[in-house]
């Protein structure tokens, strides 16, 4: 099997994690270092082993990008719109509370993904009702109201 260039990212990420934890570990008391040290050595060793495997594969079979396999059929616009909407949804919950944000988020994403308006409305009503009855009524979870709504209520 050829070495994939995308795996370089995996190795770099793992070494970075090791370095980060090692740097912070040195500030700890000796007794608290035992287990983190063990896991850092383990991760470092395994990553190095994988690096060696990669290099052997590169020498024997050559190198390939790997991006075309990892991101096969990738729809960048759709993916990043959904990701951005998810992050905005989180921010919106903090300011406007759970229910308002959920309705806005679901409507935006469903319409963007070309779900017909009638199905959009039905989906939103079903999900909001499910959460209201299952979480708020049955489990007694108080869902976030939002700082803006709280301020307006005062």
């Amino acid at each position: 099997m050829k070495m994939k260039k995308t795996d370089i990212g995996v190795v770099v990420f793992m070494y970075a994690v090791c370095a980060f934890f090692y740097f912070h570990m040195t500030k700890l008391k000796a007794s608290s270092q035992t287990y983190p040290r063990f896991t850092i050595i383990l991760l470092f060793g395994l990553t190095t082993l994988y690096l060696i495997q990669m290099l052997v594969a590169a020498k024997k079979h050559g190198v390939e990008s790997g991006v075309d396999v990892v991101f096969k059929d990738f729809q960048p616009k759709q993916f990043f719109v959904c990701l951005a909407a998810t992050i905005l949804y989180l921010v919106c919950i903090y300011f406007f509370g759970f229910y308002i944000s959920t309705v806005i988020f679901m409507a935006a994403v469903l319409l963007y993904l070309r779900v017909p308006p009638l199905f959009t409305v039905i989906t939103i009503v079903v999900i909001v009702a499910l959460i209201f009855f299952a979480f708020q009524k049955f489990l007694g979870v108080k869902l976030p109201v939002g700082t803006v709504i709280k301020a307006l209520q005062k």
Binding site: I87, M106, T123
Partner: protein
């Protein structure tokens, strides 16, 4: 013996309370819905529903999770039979014969066979759950600190190897999870470790990590692909039943598949996706009507479905007794157990025996609900299985958000869940193992306590880790855990190849659905 029988009886009485019965029905229905939707996996469903069980009694919560698990494994067969797309990888072999039966106008018969075989597979698997669990749990009484350390390593080697294409990558994922598990207060000295804020004092919230790694990451996987219209589910008009002769034909198949599925389930590291192919192949080998295979054989459907559902009871044995889940779903189930404040091992069969036996009884009753709901609701579930990814993406996102928030009613939990969602997505894209991270988050603290207590008693000498026979047995099992994927992969490939050779079906296409 008498004590066990009385515990079993009491377990059934507890399980038969109206709330437990209601939860079983709801859990099975939810599981079937999740299972029949291609793109959603059993592990994802159990992770998503985990927060719902927090406020329930531990036994009720576990029954719900068990019901979702069983329902999802069976649910995968509905879309496999009707739209030739297995809802979960565990039903890949069912699609071969099941869809052929649908094309022949026997969809009702195929669905009945799947439901009937799943019921018997699941029900019979409970026998081993009752008998082997207490015995294996007693074994762990001999475990000291060093043994617990090795046990945690063994658990990781098993799951890291199994669900990964590369064993080293799987182990790297486990080590990464172990490192993440050290975030928070030192469990022995109380010193702050790697904490950016006091929110992380108790470490990373396992449930948030679970939801992120299994459910939120799946949302991102769905969001990156072009939204496609699903194939039309075949409307079937034939009666959902089998003749007495047909039932007699599939009886030995179900029995054989139960043995296969159960053994595969007990063996940590093997899962329902392997069992279904082995069950299918064995049914073909022993069949008196080999010519029907590839053209729609009820024995093929029964063999695959009985085997994958027989895995459920078997896989709970190492999970509940040793704390070693053999696959992703049981790793999530174990998360549910730990979150309820319960530790797998002898305590579950001693101090918490009434709860454990109630769960076992609930697991038995769940099979009956699966049979009833499965038979009555097949037509409805078939329509749900066609639900577009465009609808699933925002719905699952909202459930991930509300689920992670419900735990401590803290928005930071959603941030953690989302972060693990992104991490899980990248890990899955790069063939790293999310299940190993989750398991490491659960087993990490057990391993740390074991290692440090062992070193403290030996005044820092690591020889304590090699001082007992049990330690050496566990070390040997760790080596087996690392090497077993090679054997398991060969076994799965062989079973798939045999199925493909015999029927001409494109097994690769059926199994390519990514599973968590």
């Amino acid at each position: 013996m008498l004590e066990t029988l009385s515990l079993m009886g009491a377990g059934f009485l507890n399980a038969l309370t109206p709330i437990n019965l209601l939860m079983m029905a709801g859990g099975v229905a939810m599981g079937i819905i999740i299972g029949c939707m291609p793109g959603l996996s059993a592990a994802m469903g159990v992770a998503l529903m985990l927060p719902m069980t927090f406020t329930m009694k531990p036994e009720t919560g576990l029954i719900v999770l068990g019901a979702i698990y069983c329902g999802a494994i069976f649910g995968g067969s509905i879309s496999a039979i009707l739209i030739h797309t297995p809802g979960t990888p565990a039903s890949a072999a069912t699609a071969i014969e099941g869809y052929q039966m649908t094309l022949r106008g026997q969809a009702g018969k195929a669905l009945f066979t799947a439901c009937y075989a799943s019921f018997w597979g699941g029900l019979l698997s409970c026998i081993s759950l009752y008998f082997f669990s207490p015995l294996l749990a007693k074994l762990t009484l001999k475990f000291m600190s060093a043994e617990y350390f090795w046990l945690s390593i063994f658990g990781l080697t098993i799951i890291a190897g199994v669900s990964s294409k590369s064993i080293v990558k799987g182990l790297m994922s486990g080590a990464l999870g172990m490192l993440i598990s050290t975030i928070g207060l030192d469990p022995i000295t109380g010193v702050k470790r790697f904490m950016p804020s006091s929110y992380f004092a108790e470490g990373i919230n396992t449930t948030c990590a679970l939801i992120g790694l299994f459910s939120m990451s799946q949302v991102f996987i769905l969001a990156e692909k072009k939204i496609k219209a699903r194939a039309q589910a075949t409307k079937f008009t034939d009666k959902m039943s089998l003749t007495r002769e047909e039932r007699k034909t599939i009886r030995p198949t179900i029995f054989r598949s139960w043995i296969i599925g159960n053994l595969i389930g007990i063996l940590p590291g093997a899962g329902a996706s392997i069992a279904c192919f082995l069950g299918y192949n064995t049914s073909r080998q022993f069949s008196k009507h080999k010519e029907q295979f590839g053209k729609g054989s009820i024995e093929g459907v029964a063999g695959s479905e009985a085997a994958n559902n027989a895995v459920t009871g078997g896989s709970l044995i190492p999970t509940l007794t040793l704390g070693i889940p053999g696959e992703s779903v049981t790793a999530v189930l174990m998360g549910g157990l730990v979150i309820q404040g319960l530790t797998p091992g002898p305590e579950l069969f001693g101090k918490y025996a009434p709860m454990t036996y109630t769960f076992f009884a609930g697991f038995v009753l769940v099979q009956f609900f699966m049979l009833g709901i499965g038979l009555l609701g097949c037509r409805g579930f078939a329509q749900i299985s066609r639900l577009s990814d465009a609808i699933l993406i925002p719905c699952v996102t909202v459930l991930c958000f509300v689920g992670s928030y419900a735990i401590h009613k803290n928005i930071m939990d959603i941030v953690v869940m989302l972060s693990f969602g992104v991490l899980g997505y990248l890990m899955r894209k790069l063939d790293l193992n999310t299940a190993a991270v989750v398991l490491a988050l659960i087993l990490g603290p057990i391993g740390e306590k074991g290692l440090r207590n062992a070193l403290r008693t030996s005044r820092g000498s690591i020889s304590v880790l090699f001082s007992s026979v049990v330690c050496w047995v566990l070390i040997a099992l760790c080596i087996f855990g690392i090497l077993s994927p090679i054997f398991m992969n060969r076994l799965e490939k062989k079973a798939e190849k045999e199925a493909a050779d015999a029927t001409g079906a494109n097994v690769e296409q059926l199994t390519e659905e990514d599973s968590v």
